[in-house]
């Protein structure tokens, strides 16, 4: 089964609004969580990551929220801009286990002006 799942294949947000991207996972041993961003015809690049000892991490307009009991983490992008339009991939791994980074299917975010 899909260990890391992004149930929304696409999301459209108005410029200036908050984009909320969601990711659910199955393995409660995962202890590293990441969001990668991918522009069309470009490779994924790491946006932000958190370890399981925190439940929130902020970096500029980006905030990752981690809900370990719900096996869920999300990426919030405030003041969304057209250049935020991209595919966002969530990923997770168990550092003490197989340590393989497992990716979700991706959510295509479109920020409309």
């Amino acid at each position: 089964g899909q260990q890391v799942k992004q149930s929304s294949p696409s999301l459209t947000v108005q410029e200036g609004g908050i984009s909320i991207l969601n990711c659910d996972y199955e393995n409660d041993m995962f202890d590293y969580f990441a969001w990668y961003k991918k522009y069309p015809d470009n490779s994924p690049t790491l946006l932000i990551s958190v370890r399981s000892n925190v439940d929130k991490r902020e970096d500029g307009r980006l905030t990752v929220f981690l809900n370990k009991s719900g096996k869920h983490f999300s990426l919030h992008i405030t003041a969304s801009q057209p250049e935020d339009t991209a595919v966002y991939l969530c990923a997770a791994l168990n550092q003490g286990g197989s340590a393989k980074l497992i990716f979700g299917e991706g959510t295509k975010l479109t920020v409309s002006s």
């Binding site: 890391v4 992004q6 294949p9 590293y32 990441a34 470009n42 490779s43 994924p44 690049t45 790491l46 990551s49 991939l89 791994l93 168990n94 550092q95 340590a99 393989k100 980074l101 990716f103 979700g104 299917e105 991706g106």
Partner: protein, 115 residues
């Protein structure tokens, strides 16, 4: 900084053909990966190499071989191309395996089309 290069950028093959994709990194990273990207399925791990001379199967290794020729290079072979197959293959590297340095850096990809 560093860079990951993948060759070729576009690969067109015939059904049943053996096809090789190459990846080079100059980050001096220990660990390298090959992923397959299909629409709606995210990135699926085909093979990875934790250090030079290591080779590990990922979740999608059937139909593929890989070779870590040296620390900086990792190649992937499609052993028998499937008709009408279309996918993007991404190579990545990281400082080491999981641990404190889990960030992966990706190459630009090789787009495979099988006629």
């Amino acid at each position: 900084g560093g860079i990951i290069t993948q060759t070729p950028k576009f690969l067109i093959g015939q059904e049943g053909q053996k096809l090789t994709l190459k990846c080079q990194q100059n980050f001096n990273h220990d660990t390298m990966y090959w992923y397959r990207q299909d629409s709606g399925k995210g990135l699926r791990l085909i093979y990875y190499s934790i250090t030079e001379n290591d080779l590990q199967k990922g979740d999608l290794s059937e139909g593929y071989d890989a070779s870590r020729e040296k620390k900086s290079s990792f190649s992937l072979t499609v052993t028998s191309a499937q008709k009408n197959e279309m996918a993007v293959f991404l190579c990545a590297s990281s400082i080491d395996w999981g641990g404190a340095y889990a960030e992966q850096f990706f190459g630009p990809g090789t787009r495979l089309t099988v006629l």
